[in-house]
Subunit: 228 residues, 2 copies
């Protein structure tokens, strides 16, 4: 599903150059559930942003669903992002002027899903993440963990093939974190959703059958094996 | 240092009323280090926002440093916030147009600290949180955990008497989380800094000598005792 060859991302700030990704080789097969751990600043979000076609690499190759992404036009990239990839951002990025259900419906609106279907699915997704009694709240009327859960529901709106989750449980208590993970595990097992989850929390990262570690823009370990 | 009597905070959203704080009685003595845990939506951020004089209670009394806060004028509240209380927000709220060191200097500028002293102290604080090589980065040029560390340095800028920290380690790896906590513990022990730390992470919350739990806007447990 995802293939990176010698992928590098360099940021320039004033005179300094920061190699956020430093020659990444990575293949993730369809239906795999991969976690990524690593110190703050090691390049995890940058890796997800490049896979999610939100940030462009400085050099190297990236293929998503067998398509070479760097050759795609903007319109095709947008089509991939809308129909294929669900993204849960580290800082949520909910639209502040839309309430919870409107935020979840927005990607479905962009994908031209009819209104009644959109509303029904958004209600279902918000119920699944435990927010059925907060659907008309604006983001600034929600707690940190509640905003995060709206962001999770939104990422699943268009039934993506690939889900990229950047610290999906950073703001919630361990019980809610458990139930979010169970939802993602069920989708991975029942729907074959390919998942890449960044997490500082070993309880989350260790539930993935394949576990990567990053340091200074490189993948330093790649362990597959039974969930601990 | 902090005293709450029957404190309540009600939010109204459309027709529904949400009792985010439901009759809180709480006394925190000067120099205490208190942690607060609780499920997502239980009222932890609301409690900190009220203590931090950022949000006003619906009813009940709040005294900060022996002053009844509800009777203070805006100007006096601002003076307390600037000189007495340091706040680390759950979503950081760094000024996007200021770089890391400018964000840390800002509260000192408001408190009329001379430029050289400001710059020296801000550099020291950013070094303390491990960001000496990111001081000229804007917030959108920093990782999630790096932004959080800038927010911690900023909260300590005016050497507050009270530090309110809302999920201060949510976005960083466990090693960085440990070093942040050690910094806060040293300030508590050496400077007598009164600390209230909200955290979902038991590794953080259990390091406090006094540990509160909240559910549905109420304090349901209050345990003092040796750190586990
Ligand atoms: N837009 C940018 N401009 C300049 N530097 C950047 C930019 N975005 C990230 N960086 C730098 O690149 C490095 C990697 O950032 P990234 O956000 O990928 O780290 P991360 O592993 O997600 O960290 P965290 O765990 O703190 O979220 C960081 O050191 C950061 O300072
Ligand atoms: N401005 C607001 N308007 C309406 N409701 C609000 C507002 N702020 C918070 N709430 C509601 O009040 C309740 C308590 O929110 P609060 O942010 O204090 O929870 P929390 O314990 O910090 O949660 P988390 O662990 O998810 O950060 C939540 O259910 C939330 O929906
Ligand atoms: Mg990150
Ligand atoms: Mg909160």
């Amino acid at each position: 599903a995802i293939r990176m060859d010698d992928l590098t991302k360099v940021y320039e700030v004033g005179e300094t150059e920061i190699r956020a990704l430093n020659g990444i080789d990575l293949e993730i097969m369809k239906g795999q559930f991969v976690s990524i751990m690593g110190p703050s600043g090691s390049g995890k979000s940058t890796l997800l942003n490049v896979i999610g076609c939100i940030d462009t690499p400085t050099s190297g190759r990236l293929r998503i669903m067998d398509q070479e992404v760097s050759r795609l036009k903007d319109k095709e990239l947008t089509a991939i992002r809308l129909s294929t990839i669900g993204f849960i951002f580290q800082q949520f990025y909910l639209i502040p002027t839309l309430n919870a259900i409107e935020n979840v419906e927005l990607p479905m609106k962009e994908a031209r899903i009819p209104r009644d279907d959109r509303h029904r699915r958004a209600t279902q997704l918000l119920d699944m993440v435990g927010l059925s009694n907060r659907i008309s709240h604006l983001p600034n009327q929600l707690s940190g963990g509640e905003q995060q859960r709206v962001a999770i529901a939104r990422a699943l709106a268009n039934e993506p093939d690939i889900l990229l989750a950047d610290e999906p449980t950073g703001e919630v208590d361990s019980q809610t974190s458990d139930s979010i993970l169970s939802i993602l595990e069920d989708l991975n097992r029942d729907r074959g959703l390919t998942m890449v989850v960044v997490s500082h929390d070993p309880n989350v990262a260790n539930r993935a059958p394949r576990r990567l570690s990053m340091v200074d823009g490189k993948i330093v370990s790649d362990r597959s094996g039974p969930v601990v």
